[in-house]
């Protein structure tokens, strides 16, 4: 699930940090720059592992802060295809399931990757929710909200950042605009597609 990546980056150290020891200040700057951000093809940055070297310390003309080139290692969350991970259920709709790990919530299991054969029931507790039930050998196995669900990573994708759409000047009805914005899901820079379609996957309660 976690991989180390080695990165080199040139960063500017703001002058108010000059009283701290250098590596503490650089680590703090790196954390604010990279932590909890997704880097394309590398994954979600979870932590700064260590700093390998710090070079530079030049001050450019007209600037009060010094610029350093640092080489460091980051702990990245980047599951590989075929990895099995335990997660919790976040949403269950007609398109499939959405699972969450607490620190990462964009894991989708779409309908073709659900265990076959299955049937769905409308869920009385959640609005627009669908309860998924797997049928096997005459028994019905539902996917409940309290389960710990194991899924296999099918693919990891990094959709490109969407370009902002221009404001529509003819849009007088603000209520309609609010509805449209509510339907749009917040942009997810990293999306994992999971599969539940194999022995041993799905809620652990099914197999124990």
């Amino acid at each position: 699930m976690f991989v180390m990546s080695e990165i080199e980056h040139t960063l500017r150290l703001p002058p108010h940090l000059l009283n701290l020891p250098l590596n503490v200040a650089i680590k703090g700057e790196l954390e604010s720059l990279f932590l909890d951000k997704v880097i394309d093809k590398l994954g979600l940055c979870v932590s700064v592992y260590d700093i390998l070297s710090i070079d530079g310390g030049f001050i450019f003309p007209g600037d009060g802060a010094s610029t350093y080139t640092a080489r460091f290692r980051l702990v990245m969350f980047r599951p590989y295809v075929g990895e099995v991970i335990s997660a919790r259920l976040k949403e269950s709709t007609k398109n499939g399931l959405r699972l969450s790990l607490g620190f990462f919530g964009d894991i989708y299991v779409l309908v073709p990757l659900m265990p076959n054969p299955y049937h769905t029931e409308p869920d009385p507790e959640h609005k627009n929710g669908i309860k998924w039930v797997w049928e096997y050998m005459g028994e019905n196995y539902p996917i409940d909200w309290t389960d710990e669900i194991r899924f296999r990573v099918h693919s990891v994708s990094y959709p490109p950042i969407p370009i902002e759409q221009g404001i529509d000047s003819e849009q007088n009805d603000s209520e309609e605009k609010d509805l449209r914005q509510k339907d749009l899901k917040p942009f997810a820079p990293m999306v994992i597609t999971g599969s539940l379609d194999a022995d041993g996957l799905g809620p652990t309660a099914w197999w124990v």
Binding site: I7, L42, V46, G102, R150, G200
Partner: protein, 99 residues
């Protein structure tokens, strides 16, 4: 920003948990004093709930030694260490062509 090595080493869940523990994540319930950021704390909470919270480095070394004779792929060994399957049906999705 330049990426020097995109894969400088794979870490098991246990190693990442040990990294957070060494920074003091487990001792402070309010996580204000420890050198752990709130987003790192979420990862720590998730890892505490998995089997990694009960592992030690000796167990993992011993497991890797014992598995040498089976000639497993690294990804498969990583899966087994992270999930700790306790029955045959749980191992099936981890290994292809399991027999």
């Amino acid at each position: 920003m330049k990426i020097l090595q995109s894969n400088a080493g794979v870490l098991t869940n246990y190693e990442v948990l040990a990294l957070f523990r060494s920074r003091g994540a487990g001792k402070d319930p309010t996580c204000v004093i420890a050198a752990v950021a709130p987003s790192e704390f979420k990862v720590y909470d998730y890892l505490e709930q998995t089997v990694a919270s009960h592992q030690t480095i000796e167990i993992i070394h011993k497991f890797v030694e014992d598995c040498e004779k089976y000639d497993l792929a690294k990804g498969v060994m990583l899966n087994i260490v992270n999930i700790r399957p306790s029955s045959a049906v749980e191992i099936d999705p981890l290994i292809q062509d399991c027999d």
